[in-house]
């Protein structure tokens, strides 16, 4: 498969190059104040949401597990990082690492017993766990309890958020294309068959869950260090649902899909800000309509790739792309 590896390699470099250009453009725009604070706030929110969506996609899309409590892991990351910087006075990089590791650890602890469940039951169980985490935080006065954890310094900047996003996306992309990733895909397609073929399903399910939870923690740390505050109200089921919608909208299993979903949904939420009461109603109607008419989302489970552009150029161009599917 040498040619496949070569073409993947070429694609990676191209993607990386694109990222550098994108970064430079936006950095320039922010620096020169051409794009104001409002734009910066939303762009950083988009970056955080991309990390959330891509990490959730690892669990739901790649491995086919129904997790709808992702906000709980985000909360863990948000709070632990805040404890590190505010209470213990350490640097942001340490806080980020602690956030990721602690969320991943929690994911591991939770994943071990509950991943025996499947389908709808797992969904409700993860929903419950997300809520339990939130209720627990509400009752811990050390981190502010119901008042929230205030006074967090704004340590998240556009460059930090951007490059962490790039790192997470590439990490997950490489995971997806690795042997472990393929094991997860096998589990998604047919768990019993995968088990029969000798794949340790529990190991991979827990692995995916742990990694996904860890990156949600990273996103949480970026989040709390941008908005100056970590508050239980920011990590309710609504947020888990938002992230889930981004993933499904983009297409379960597609990383480019999650990215597009995150960008789209964050932008729409901002656009609808002028119609607050109608916003939620419109949101849910659009969601239902989308589910009814295109449940596979924008990208289905395919990725944005060179092959896709090539097939369009050759005039054949069905939108979905060809060999570059999983």
């Amino acid at each position: 498969m040498k040619s496949l590896r070569q073409s993947l390699h070429k694609q990676d470099l191209l993607g990386l190059g694109l990222m550098v250009i994108l970064f430079a453009v936006f950095y320039f725009l922010f620096d020169e104040e051409i794009l104001d604070d409002y734009w910066e706030t939303n762009v950083i929110l988009i970056l955080i949401n991309i990390i959330m969506a891509v990490s959730l996609n690892l669990i739901n899309g790649l491995t086919g597990q129904f997790s709808i409590g992702h906000a709980g892991f985000m909360a863990v990351g948000a709070y632990t990082s805040a404890i590190i910087t505010v209470k213990l006075g350490m640097d942001f990089p340490i806080a980020l690492i602690v956030a990721t590791v602690s969320a991943a650890f929690l994911g591991f602890l939770i994943g071990m017993p509950t991943l025996r469940l499947n389908g709808d039951y797992l969904a409700i169980a993860t929903l419950g766990l997300g809520e339990i985490i939130r209720i627990a935080i509400l009752n811990i006065d050390y981190v502010g309890g119901a008042s929230g954890f205030m006074g967090i310094p704004r340590l998240t900047t556009f460059p930090i958020a951007f490059w962490i996003m790039v790192f997470v996306v590439y990490f997950i992309k490489n995971f997806k294309n690795s042997a472990d990733g393929r094991a997860c895909l096998a589990i998604r397609e047919n768990e019993i068959a995968a088990e029969t073929m000798g794949i340790n399903t529990t190991k991979y399910k827990v692995m995916a869950f742990t990694i996904g939870a860890g990156f949600a923690g990273t996103a949480g740390a970026l989040f709390s260090h941008y908005y100056y505050i970590a508050h239980p109200a920011s990590f309710t089921f609504m947020r888990s649902f938002d992230v889930l919608t981004m993933v499904v909208l983009g297409g379960l299993g597609s990383i480019s899909g999650s990215i597009s979903g995150a960008v789209l949904l964050t932008a729409i939420s901002a656009a609808l800000a002028d119609y607050p009461e109608w916003r939620m109603v419109i949101y849910s109607i659009v969601l239902i309509v989308l589910m009814l008419n295109r449940p596979q989302g924008i990208f289905g489970n395919k990725e944005l790739s060179l092959k896709m552009f090539q097939s369009i150029k050759l005039g054949g161009g069905s939108r979905g792309g060809t060999a570059q599917s999983e």
Partner: protein, 298 residues
């Protein structure tokens, strides 16, 4: 009798728990029927309960109906709503991936909640007194007539439902479809109609719970269905999903646990306790307390 004694506290909490549990049981009955037949967690079920409460509210305040007619109107209204929702949002999703169907259900739930907030404002509404609450004091334990009404209604409705499901032809059709939908189709059963009927029945029960709750707690608001909906689902799972007496049992258990946790531990961990029970049951007896073990075939 020493009102502070443990025995007395315990007995009182049991009363509290049973009345709370009957409400969960009523909602859980609908959940278990719907899940049994199309294997979908109807997230919107809790919001149908809320809808029923509001319909009852309008019936009593605007149309001036007395209790029983208002209850019936509310049940019919909710049944219609349930049928419409099933037709528009769930039927097309029957062959779609499960996660898409789940998201649609959540979408419907949010639509109902926020639509109601838009329509009637988030302000809580109060039910006018439909019958005066009388309090019975039995040896220091306090029970009021509304609690008894709720328990009795729940029991009656469950008996009625069990009768329908086990003794009528329509019920037989429902059982057939929940066992194997394709085979039922081959046998000439109109599965679409059966599913609609199930939704109607389940929604009617939830609406009844809503009206009773509105009278009991005296206030309704658009978000009242969220938590009870989830707890009722947990109750259905605890009792054994798809099994009617299981839903009743599960509901009472959930109510009792909640009362005990609040009464002897701390009220703030009530919801956490409910989820903890769910996880325990799913880990150790996933088919529920009254369920039978079914091996999964490849």
């Amino acid at each position: 009798m020493d009102t502070g004694s443990f025995a007395h506290q315990f007995a009182q909490q049991i009363v509290n728990g049973v009345s709370l549990g009957s409400i969960y049981a009523l909602i859980a009955l609908g959940y278990t029927m719907i899940y049994g037949i199309i294997k979908l967690i109807n997230f919107a079920h809790g919001d149908i309960y809320m809808l029923g409460a509001y319909i009852g509210f309008v019936a009593i305040t605007k149309a001036g109906l007395p209790f029983l007619p208002a209850l019936i109107v509310s049940m019919i209204g909710a049944a219609l709503a349930g049928i419409i929702i099933e037709r528009i949002a769930y039927r097309p999703m029957r062959n779609a991936p499960r996660i898409a169907a789940l998201i649609t259900a959540i979408g419907v739930s949010f639509f109902l909640e926020n639509g109601m907030i838009l329509l009637v404002s988030p302000q809580p509404r109060t039910f006018p007194p439909v019958f005066a609450p009388t309090v019975y004091n039995i040896g220091g334990i306090v029970v009021n007539n509304q609690q008894i009404l709720i328990l009795v209604s729940a029991l009656l409705l469950m008996l009625a439902l069990t009768y329908i499901v086990n003794r009528t032809k329509a019920g037989k059709a429902m059982r057939a479809v929940s066992y194997d939908a394709d085979a039922a189709k081959l046998m000439g059963i109109d599965t679409d109609r059966v599913i609609s009927t199930t939704f109607a029945l389940g929604s009617a029960l939830a609406a009844a719970a809503g009206v009773l709750v509105g009278i009991y707690y005296n206030s309704i608001d658009p978000l009242m269905g969220m938590m009870p909906g989830i707890k009722a689902f947990i109750a259905a799972v605890v009792g054994g999903i798809g099994i009617l007496p299981g839903a009743m049992l599960g509901g009472i258990i959930m109510g009792l646990v909640e009362a005990m946790v609040s009464g002897f531990f701390s009220s703030t961990y009530r919801d956490a306790a409910a989820f903890a029970i769910l996880i325990l049951i799913l880990l150790y007896k996933p088919t529920g307390l009254l369920g039978k073990n079914v091996k999964e075939k490849v």
